[in-house]
């Protein structure tokens, strides 16, 4: 397009300087050999954890930063950038953090007599620089940072020098991006193994959402991370941390599209139970239940879908039919056995409310949700010459009756014959996730079916609980979850080179052991997809 300004990219510079071996790339590898080399910007949460690691104490400065958007439903994607607004926010935060570091890290820049101030400054730079960059500081960087240290020291003390260095570290590209580029000596167009430090970062951010700890950095330095067994060992170690459990919770929430639950709004005239407090109750159930699946069942998707219990506060216990709770904790959450019409996460009020309208259920949203998020099918947008206005809410018919009409249009039927049976089958839940057998005086018809891509109904079912039970043992779902996890963890869509990885996930321990996502994660860290990237040709 004409507006695209020509970026005379650094590639030209590179090609001039990297002419030592490979000219023209006769031995270039095909693009399918590995996913492209890249950089990934830290998310807000990752920024907080990374800054905390440098300072040695927990800070939260990033929550006010510009929020991540989502790609493929996930906020952890590779397209995150540092825009003007974010750069300003980071600029401000970096100063706050540097002031904090100046007082907290005084031991690191203290200079005993007999040592030159430059040597002390260099030691400081190496120490905090390695923590910030998640790798040793290069000589070139050390020289630049020393110059900065001395500029900060001008008219001040060692502490003002340290402060300026810290300010630079917290707002530097080397801190804000994780690299997946391999060694600097690698040739263009080649598949490279990531450096040990890059692997350590990738592993740590994927499992815990934060930078590598000392143990992992030591493994990187020792060069042992080239071994899949060692990577697995490190991953399993980190999976035991509280940070890892939160990170898995985030996967489930984003995979299921439930991140908007805390903004769900309902029409009180239709749903008098709805309130901001009620919404909070739904959020609490979502979190508590997912946390138990992660903690007690190693993130088993089978458990997630087919558990006959949940963790709710008093509000939801009553809403679900006066359920009695056991083991109520300090936060007021207790375990309940679900009534037969509910099963696993699918029928939670929060899920059914998310996939609904302001004032009614939405078979279309629910059907599309199961097809795209749980089964990884593609649902194309409606054709352009078709009106997509949902039928008006009516007081004398059921939602199903209102929606059934539109599938008679042949332009719509192609897709809706798959979407609608799925969605109609969850009509036993209203737009606020209450179970129902009647709507506007009519009996609710919650019969539905899973339609195979070839158009045949493979699984008739009635009601959300039956669907959940079916999905919990369904191959299509079992094959979908690894793909969703790759999207989340790698921050990109499937690449041709992921075939072996996906096959390993889909046949490995994840598949044979209750669809434990943690096992899918282990397959991922062991794979070539995890450690290899292809360098650009130009």
């Amino acid at each position: 397009m004409p507006l695209r300004r020509f970026v005379l990219s650094s590639a030209l510079v590179l090609s001039a300087s990297a002419c030592t071996g490979n000219i023209g790339g006769a031995d270039e590898t095909p693009e399918s050999a590995a996913a492209p080399a890249r950089v990934r910007r830290l998310t807000r949460e990752e920024f907080n954890k990374s800054a905390s690691a440098v300072l040695g104490s927990s800070v939260d400065v990033a929550q006010g930063f510009a929020a991540e958007d989502t790609i493929l439903g996930f906020s952890t994607h590779e397209r995150l950038q540092v825009t003007s607004l974010l750069a300003d926010q980071i600029d401000t935060a970096a100063l706050t953090l540097a002031e904090e570091g100046r007082s907290q890290l005084s031991d690191l820049y203290a200079c005993p007599s007999g040592k030159s101030q430059d040597d002390c400054a260099k030691a400081f730079i190496q120490k905090v620089g390695q923590r910030a960059f998640r790798r040793p500081v290069t000589p070139e960087e050390e020289a630049d940072l020393l110059a900065l240290f001395n500029a900060g020291k001008q008219g001040g003390t060692m502490s003002t020098g340290a402060e300026l260095v810290l300010q630079a570290l917290f707002s530097s590209a080397s801190f804000l991006y994780r690299t997946e580029l391999g060694p600097t000596t690698a040739r263009k167009g080649q598949v490279v193994e990531l450096t040990p430090y890059e692997v350590a970062s990738e592993l740590s951010f994927m499992v815990t959402g934060g930078p590598p700890d000392d143990t992992l950095l030591a493994a990187a330095q020792a060069g042992t991370l080239t071994s899949p067994d060692e990577r697995e060992k490190q991953a399993r170690r980190l999976l035991q941390t509280a940070d890892a459990r939160l990170k898995l919770r985030q996967f489930f929430i984003e995979w299921l599209g439930l991140n908007g639950l805390n903004k769900v709004n309902k029409n009180n005239q239709v749903y008098p139970d709805y309130s901001v407090d009620f919404r909070d109750s739904m959020v609490r159930e979502r979190n508590a239940f997912i946390d138990s699946v992660v903690k007690d069942h190693a993130g088993s998707v089978q458990e997630l879908l087919s558990a006959n219990y949940s963790y709710v506060d008093e509000t939801l216990a009553n809403y679900y039919g006066g359920l009695s709770r056991t083991n109520v904790d300090d936060e007021g959450m207790g375990r309940v056995t679900l009534p037969p019409e509910r099963l696993g996460i699918l029928t939670q009020a929060g899920v059914m409310s998310t996939y609904a309208h302001f004032d009614s259920s939405s078979p279309i949203k629910r059907g599309k949700f199961v097809l795209t998020r749980l089964l990884c099918r593609t649902v194309p947008p409606p054709p352009a010459n078709v009106s997509t206005i949902p039928p008006a809410v009516s007081e004398d018919s059921t939602t199903r009756q209102r929606f059934a009409a539109h599938t008679s249009n042949p332009a719509c039927a192609g897709c809706h014959k798959t979407i609608d049976p799925m969605g109609f089958g969850m009509e036993d839940f209203d737009g606020l996730g209450q179970h129902r057998t009647e709507e506007n005086g009519h009996t609710v018809d919650a019969s539905g079916g899973v339609v195979a891509p070839d158009g045949t109904i493979t699984a008739p079912f009635t009601g959300g609980a039956q669907l959940a039970r079916y999905l919990s043992t369904n191959d299509e779902l079992a094959n979908c979850v690894p793909l969703q996890f790759v999207r989340y963890a790698m921050g990109r869509d499937e690449h041709a080179s992921d075939a072996a990885l996906l096959a390993a996930m889909r046949t490995g321990a994840y598949r044979t052991d209750q669809l434990k996502v943690t096992e899918a994660l282990v397959s991922l860290v062991r794979s070539a997809s995890f450690t290899q990237r292809r360098l650009p040709t130009r």
């Binding site: 397009m1 507006l3 695209r4 300004r5 970026v7 990219s9 650094s10 590639a11 510079v13 080399a37 950089v39 006010g64 510009a66 991540e68 958007d69 989502t70 493929l72 994607h77 397209r79 950038q81 540092v82 825009t83 003007s84 607004l85 974010l86 750069a87 300003d88 600029d91 706050t96 070139e140 960087e141 630049d144 940072l145 110059a147 900065l148 500029a151 900060g152 008219g155 300010q167 630079a168 530097s172 590209a173 690299t179 580029l181 991140n259 908007g260 903004k263 709004n265 302001f358 054709p383 352009a384 010459n385 078709v386 009106s387 997509t388 008006a392 869509d493 360098l535 650009p536 130009r538």
Partner: protein
């Protein structure tokens, strides 16, 4: 506190006594006035859900158009009639000719002219939006190339209504929701003493040098597409660097900090107040020439403050084609009320800009406001005849005080065979984007999707 260091006192240091400007004069007029020619500014406003043509479309002809009739959506703009250019009959052709209609494509294409790309699993454009292009072209002399504001976040940050501004690689440009933060970003560093300033300035310069060097070093290792991320980053760093020595805000009066009474950004009841604060800040930023490009979205979940408690999307916009009376009229008049509220916001922004003298006129005279929507007729939910208004004096680049019917006649989709076929007589909005870009000196012959070329005739 070092961070409160005065940008102004730094500037004084830099420029010595020459900068002892006659503040009293500058208090009441635009800072940019001193320049030879007043700068042209761009504001894009987006409001959702389409309109009802019978209430939106002016009556009368090009010159004698009338917006002052009963239930006229544009009536609140009557006092600015001479600075309006109402455009009826622009289509998002790039959407429906590429298999798209409905809400989602509108915000994506409004300022990009791009078709919707869904490779990412998300709905995004393939290129930059007009505000970014103009900002890169003219914003370099100001402190902020552009600002992105949002009156109220209705859904999560990824929701289509939250993004009308996109970077070169089609990623969303994040927006600021909180007027208090906008204020801090724009004016926070004003004030403070010059002694502190001197010490800080040198350090700030060293810091920026380092950050630019570090980012450049990383960029050199990246392929073109990955390098684009670092280009965006570097441009942002250069913005900060430029502000160290830019005299834009000099002599400009720091406005009063917005009250924190509206700190609950999730409370819908605060939306009118938040909208007003954002609009005021646009005017203040222009008065100080801190930026020349702003985008803002004003969504409409419901509007209890004008008695609209329903969900505007589902219960009003989607039901405007109700056929039975009295429901039909009741619903449609509610839609008019909602749209009139948006028009009032535009009018109030114009009031604020008109209150800042600049040269022999006002800042409004040198501003182009583009007010758009994602749909045409709310009842049809199609991206045809998108209600589009240019407002402000546009620095004389466009001839204002007119109403243009770009494609007179009936529903253009009436006899359309469907996606993939061109639509005879349809006028693509890309032409308008091109015209505006050219008005800002951007040398392009098309904007967005390459198939749609040329400018919109009749604007000048």
């Amino acid at each position: 506190m070092p961070r409160d260091i005065s940008r102004r006192s730094i500037l004084k240091l830099l420029s010595g006594t020459a900068m002892a400007a006659p503040f009293a004069h500058l208090l009441t007029s635009s800072v940019a006035e001193a320049a030879d020619a007043a700068p042209l500014r761009f504001i894009a406003l987006f409001t959702p859900h389409g309109v009802l043509p019978e209430y939106w479309t002016p009556k009368g002809g090009e010159q004698d158009f009338n917006i002052d009739f009963e239930n006229s959506v544009l009536q609140p703009l009557q006092r600015h009639r001479s600075k309006l250019l109402v455009l009826d009959g622009l289509d998002y052709r790039v959407l429906y000719e590429h298999g798209r209609t409905g809400h989602e494509g509108g915000p994506v294409t409004f300022l990009t002219g791009s078709q919707v790309v869904v490779d990412s699993g998300d709905e995004l454009p393939s290129g930059a939006s007009l505000d970014q292009v103009i900002g890169n072209a003219v914003g370099g002399v100001t402190q902020f190339r552009s600002l992105q504001l949002h009156a109220f976040e209705q859904f999560g940050a990824q929701h289509v209504y939250n993004s009308i501004s996109f970077t070169e690689n089609g990623s969303r440009v994040p927006f600021e929701l909180n007027p208090a933060n906008v204020y801090k970003r724009l004016f926070g560093s004003m004030g403070g003493s010059s002694a502190e300033a001197q010490a800080i300035l040198l350090k700030r310069k060293s810091l920026m040098d380092y950050l630019i060097k570090d980012a450049t070093r990383l960029k050199k290792r990246l392929a073109a597409t990955e390098g684009q991320k670092l280009d965006t980053h570097l441009a942002a760093l250069r913005d900060i660097e430029r502000r160290l020595t830019n005299t834009g805000a000099l002599g400009c009066v720091k406005p009063e900090e917005p009250s924190d009474g509206l700190s609950d950004l999730g409370d819908l009841g605060n939306m009118p107040g938040l909208t007003q604060l954002h609009l005021d800040l646009i005017a203040r930023a222009f008065a100080c020439d801190l930026t020349r490009v702003v985008t803002m979205t004003i969504p409409g979940p419901s509007m209890p403050w004008i008695g609209i408690d329903e969900d505007i999307h589902n219960d009003i916009a989607h039901r405007t084609d109700t056929q039975t009376e009295p429901d039909r009229t009741a619903i449609r008049l509610k839609m008019v009320k909602v749209q009139q509220w948006y028009a009032e916001q535009v009018a109030s922004l114009m009031d604020s800009l008109a209150a800042i003298p600049e040269g022999s006129g006002t800042v409004l005279d040198n501003t182009v406001i583009l007010w758009g929507n994602e749909l045409g007729d709310a009842a049809g939910h199609m991206n045809v005849s998108i209600p589009t208004v240019l407002a402000g004096g546009a620095g004389g680049k466009f001839r204002m005080g007119r109403y243009l019917r770009l494609r007179p006649g009936k529903d253009p989709l009436g006899s359309w065979p469907g996606p993939g076929s061109p639509l005879p007589g349809a006028v693509e909005h890309n032409k308008l984007l091109t015209s505006i870009a050219q008005a800002f000196g951007v040398n392009v012959d098309r904007f967005g999707h390459p198939d749609y070329t040329g400018t919109l005739s009749g604007l000048t």
